[in-house]
C-alpha cells in the first residue's frame, strides 16, 4: 500500500517537474523540483501534503530578485565566480533567504563567502556591512580597542 503511494507521488513529481513559488513582491515563478527540494521549508510542505502544485507556494520573506539569485546559484552548483558579482546587499539577502528557506548547503556556502569577505576588514567596514549603529562613546571604544590591541593590527584596506 505504502509502496504504491510512493510510486504515485514519484510519478506525480516527474509529471510536474516544476513547482510554482510566489515571492514577496507577488511574482509567480516556476522552479524545477530538484532546486525546490533543497529548500527544506518547501520540500516538507510538498512531501507532507499531497498538494496541488499548480497553486503557488507563498514565500513572503523572499523577493523575486533574491529567488532568481538563489536559483542561479543552485543551478551553477554554487559557483564562486558568479557569486562574486553579488553586491553586499544581495549577499545579505541571499543569506537571510537561505536561512528562511532552510537551504543548508547554500547557507554554509554564503556564510563562508561573507566570512571571507569580512576577514581582515576593519570594524568600520563590518559595521557598514551589517548596518550596525555604533553606540559606544569614543572613550569606551578606545578602551576596548586597547584591551585587544593586537586584533586591530594588520588589517586590509577597506
Amino acid at each position: 500500500m505504502q509502496k504504491t503511494e510512493g510510486e504515485e507521488s514519484k510519478a506525480e513529481n516527474e509529471e510536474v517537474k516544476q513547482v510554482t513559488l510566489m515571492t514577496s513582491d507577488g511574482v509567480k515563478m516556476k522552479v524545477e523540483i530538484s532546486i525546490v527540494y533543497e529548500m527544506e521549508i518547501v520540500r516538507s510542505f510538498i512531501e507532507v501534503n499531497d498538494a496541488d502544485h499548480s497553486v503557488p507556494f507563498p514565500l513572503p520573506n523572499v523577493s523575486s530578485h533574491t529567488l532568481d539569485l538563489i536559483i542561479e546559484l543552485v543551478k551553477n552548483e554554487y559557483d564562486d565566480e558568479f557569486m562574486k558579482t553579488f553586491s553586499h546587499d544581495e549577499l545579505k539577502e541571499v543569506l537571510v533567504a537561505a536561512n528562511y528557506l532552510n537551504m543548508k548547503t547554500l547557507l554554509d556556502f554564503i556564510a563562508t563567502a561573507i566570512a571571507n569577505l569580512l576577514e581582515k576588514k576593519s570594524v568600520e567596514f563590518i559595521r557598514n556591512f551589517f548596518n550596525i549603529v555604533n553606540d559606544f562613546t569614543p572613550e569606551e571604544e578606545a578602551e576596548i580597542r586597547k584591551t585587544n590591541e593586537w586584533v586591530f593590527q594588520d588589517l586590509d584596506e577597506d
Binding site: 537571510v96 563562508t112 576577514e119 576588514k121 551589517f130 550596525i132 584591551t147
Partner: protein, 599 residues
C-alpha cells in the same frame, strides 16, 4: 655523537563526567588525553596547542561560561591556541591548595589592616585631643606616607612604579576623593568621640548602594535595599542619642562616607589593566593627595595657629606628644597600605565589608580606651547599624556579578580568554582571576545585531571568522560586545575548534591538547581530534590516555606505535582493549585500566 630528539606529542584531553551515575557524589576529576609523537620531519614544524581547561571553582549554579579562544601565530611557525571553559561548580569540594592559601592570605591582610587601624585611631584621637588641628594632622599623615614610600623606592625595597601621564590623570579623581574623605574623617574625629565617627562611617554601604543606584544606574535586588533600613536607622538612632553630638563632627563623617565610596569606585576603575599594584598605587595616591591638600591646609589653619597649638600641646603632654604625632602618621600610612594591598586581591564590595568589620574593632577598642560614655540606646543604634551592614553583605553577595569577559596574556605569550560570570562571589580565587585579567572581552557575537537579521546567522558568520577577526566584532556595538547565552558561547567555541581542526594543514603537530567539559555532547569534535591525529601522525601515537570518555570505538584506534596506555573511569569492552593492544608491539609501560573498565 649523541643526538636527542624530543618527541613531540599530541594529546586530546576531555574532561568531565560521562559515566557518573546520578546521585553518586565522589567523582575524580577526569580527563582524557591522547599523546602522539610526530614523524621526524623537523622542517616546517607547527607547534600547536589547544587546551581547554577547567578553570575556576565557581560557587554559583550553572553560570560558568565559556567565551573564547585565542590563536596566536608567530612568523607562521609557532601557533598556540588556548581556550578556556568554565566548569560547572561540581568540583567545588575538590579543593585547590592555592585557593586555601589565598584565603589565609586575605585573612592575614584583614587582621593586620584592622589592628593597624585601631592603633592609628587611638593615637590620632590622642593627638587631636590636645592639638585640635585636623588639617595639619591629615597633611602630616599623607606626608609621612609619601616620605616612607619615596625612601623605600630610593633604597629599592620596593620597585618604583612605571607611571605615565595617563596614570596620574586617572589617579587624580581618586586622590581628590581620598583627600576629602580623609580630611572630613579627621575633622569629624576632632569634634566627636572616635566611636561616634565610626558608627556614622559604618553607614558607608548605604552610600555605596545609593551612589551606584542613582549615579551609576546599577540596580540591586530588593533585599539589598531592605538591608539599608537597619543601617540608616541604626546610624540615625546612634546619632540622635549621642551625648556629645556635634554637627561638624556628624557632617564630617557623612562627607567622608560619600568621598570614600567615590574613591573606591574611582580607584577600582583606575586599577583596571594598570601595572601599578596595591602598594605603589597607594603611595602615588598619597603623594598626589598631599599635593592637593597642602595648600588647603595652610589656607584653613595656617602655620601661626599650628605653632601656637604646638607649644600648648607640648607643655601639656611633654615630648611624648611628638611620638604620638609620629605614630598616628606612620600607622595611618601602614593601615592604608595594607588595605590597598588587599584591594588588589578582592572586589570593592568585599573590601567595604572588611571595612565594616574593622569599624567594629575600632569602636569597641576606642570606647574601652577613652572611657567614652555610652548610653544603652546609643549602643543599640550602633548594634543595629552594624547588624544592618552584616545583612547587607549577606543579601548582596548572592547577586553579585564579578566579571564578564576577560583576556589575559601569560608569560609565554599565550592569550587567555575567559568569561566567568560569578554569582555569590565568596570565592577569592575567582576574584583574583577576575582582577588578574581585567581586560574585557573578546570573541562574542551578539544575538541581536539588528532586528531583521536572524541572530543565529551572525553567530554562524562570526564562528567562521578567524579568531582575530571574531574578536574584532566585539567593538562593533554594545550589543555585539556581550553574548547572551551559554549555548551560543559554547557553540562559537566548539565551532572554532572544529574549524581549526578542519583547516589544520600542517603535517606535524608537536602538541595538541583539548580539555573540555561534557565531551559526550561534542563527540564529533573529539572524533575530529582523533582523525586529526591520524592525518598528522599516520597512526604513530605513542602515549594514549583516556579518562571518562565514551567514544571508544574499536575502529577508531588503529595505532601501532603505542608505548603507554592508560584508561580510566569508563566502560570499555574487553574486546575493544584487545583490539587496541593487539597491534602494539612496542608497549613499554604497563597498561593501566581503572575502575568501571572491563566487562
Amino acid at each position: 655523537m649523541i643526538c636527542t630528539v624530543k618527541q613531540p606529542s599530541i594529546s586530546i584531553v576531555a574532561s568531565h563526567v560521562l559515566l557518573r551515575k546520578k546521585g553518586s557524589s565522589s567523582t575524580p576529576v577526569q580527563s582524557c588525553s591522547v599523546v602522539v609523537p610526530s614523524s621526524h620531519l623537523r622542517e616546517n614544524t607547527l607547534r600547536s596547542l589547544v587546551s581547554v581547561q577547567k578553570p575556576l571553582h565557581l560557587s554559583c549554579v550553572g553560570l560558568g561560561n565559556f567565551v573564547g579562544c585565542p590563536v596566536r601565530r608567530e612568523r607562521g611557525h609557532l601557533g598556540t591556541c588556548r581556550a578556556y571553559e568554565a566548569e560547572r561548580p561540581e568540583v567545588e569540594g575538590a579543593g585547590n591548595p592555592s585557593e586555601a592559601a589565598k584565603k589565609v592570605k586575605i585573612g592575614i591582610y584583614f587582621a593586620t589592616w584592622w589592628a593597624l587601624n585601631v592603633v592609628f585611631n587611638i593615637y590620632n584621637k590622642k593627638v587631636l585631643n590636645v592639638y585640635p588641628y585636623p588639617w595639619l594632622t591629615s597633611t602630616l599623615s599623607l606626608a609621612c606616607g609619601s616620605l616612607l614610600m619615596l625612601i623605600s623606592w630610593a633604597t629599592r625595597i620596593a620597585e618604583p612604579p612605571k607611571t605615565d601621564l595617563e596614570f596620574w590623570k586617572t589617579l587624580f579623581p581618586v586622590a581628590v576623593a581620598h583627600t576629602i574623605g580623609h580630611v572630613a574623617a579627621t575633622v569629624s574625629m576632632s569634634k566627636v568621640a572616635v566611636s561616634f565617627t565610626h558608627i556614622i562611617k559604618s553607614g558607608e554601604p548605604a552610600f555605596s548602594v545609593l551612589v551606584s543606584r542613582f549615579l551609576l544606574g546599577e540596580t540591586f535586588p530588593v533585599p539589598v535595599y531592605l538591608s539599608l533600613i537597619p543601617i540608616i536607622g541604626g546610624c540615625a538612632l546612634a546619632a540622635v542619642t549621642e551625648l556629645n553630638f556635634n554637627m561638624i563632627g556628624f557632617m564630617g563623617a557623612m562627607i567622608s562616607n560619600l568621598a570614600f565610596v567615590f574613591r573606591n569606585i574611582f580607584s577600582k576603575k583606575g586599577m583596571k589593566g594598570k601595572a601599578v599594584s596595591g602598594m605603589n598605587y597607594y603611595a602615588c595616591l598619597s603623594i598626589l593627595s598631599l599635593a592637593i591638600l597642602t595648600p588647603f591646609a595652610i589656607a584653613v589653619e595656617g602655620p601661626q595657629m599650628w605653632a601656637a597649638g604646638w607649644q600648648t600641646a607640648l607643655s601639656q603632654i611633654g615630648p611624648q606628644f611628638i611620638l604620638w604625632m609620629a605614630a598616628q602618621s606612620i600607622f595611618y600610612h601602614l593601615y592604608n597600605q595594607v588595605s590597598y594591598m588587599s584591594l588588589d586581591e578582592i572586589s570593592p564590595l568585599t573590601f567595604s565589608i572588611g571595612n565594616t568589620m574593622k569599624r567594629i574593632s575600632v569602636i569597641v577598642s576606642s570606647i574601652i580606651i577613652f572611657h567614652t560614655p555610652v548610653q544603652p540606646v546609643n549602643a543599640l543604634g550602633a548594634a543595629i547599624a552594624i547588624f544592618g551592614t552584616f545583612l547587607y553583605s549577606q543579601c548582596f553577595e548572592p547577586w553579585r556579578i564579578l566579571c564578564k569577559g576577560c583576556t589575559r596574556e601569560d608569560s609565554e605569550g599565550n592569550l587567555w580568554v575567559t568569561d566567568c560570570r560569578v554569582i555569590r562571589g565568596t570565592n577569592f580565587k575567582v576574584e583574583e582571576h577576575a582582577l588578574s585579567s581585567e581586560k574585557t572581552l573578546a570573541m562574542e557575537a551578539s544575538l541581536n545585531w539588528f532586528s531583521e537579521f536572524p541572530s543565529q546567522l551572525l553567530l554562524t558568520i562570526v564562528s567562521l571568522l578567524p579568531f582575530k577577526d571574531a574578536v574584532r566584532t566585539s567593538v562593533l556595538s554594545k550589543q555585539c560586545q556581550h553574548v547572551g547565552t551559554r549555548e551560543a558561547q559554547r557553540k562559537s567555541f566548539l565551532d572554532f575548534i572544529k574549524f581549526w581542526i578542519e583547516n589544520h594543514k600542517g603535517t606535524v603537530l608537536n602538541k595538541f591538547s583539548l580539555r573540555l567539559s561534557m565531551p559526550e555532547k561534542v563527540t564529533e569534535v573529539i572524533d575530529g581530534c582523533i582523525i586529526l591525529s591520524h592525518k598528522v601522525y599516520n597512526c604513530s601515537l605513542e602515549s594514549f590516555k583516556l579518562y571518562s570518555c565514551s567514544f571508544l570505538e574499536t575502529e577508531v584506534f588503529s595505532f601501532h606505535e603505542l608505548k603507554e596506555v592508560s584508561l580510566g573511569w569508563m566502560e570499555v569492552k574487553l574486546s575493544a582493549i584487545k583490539a587496541l593492544l593487539s597491534n602494539c608491539e612496542k608497549l613499554e609501560s604497563r597498561v593501566y585500566v581503572s575502575q568501571n573498565a572491563g566487562a
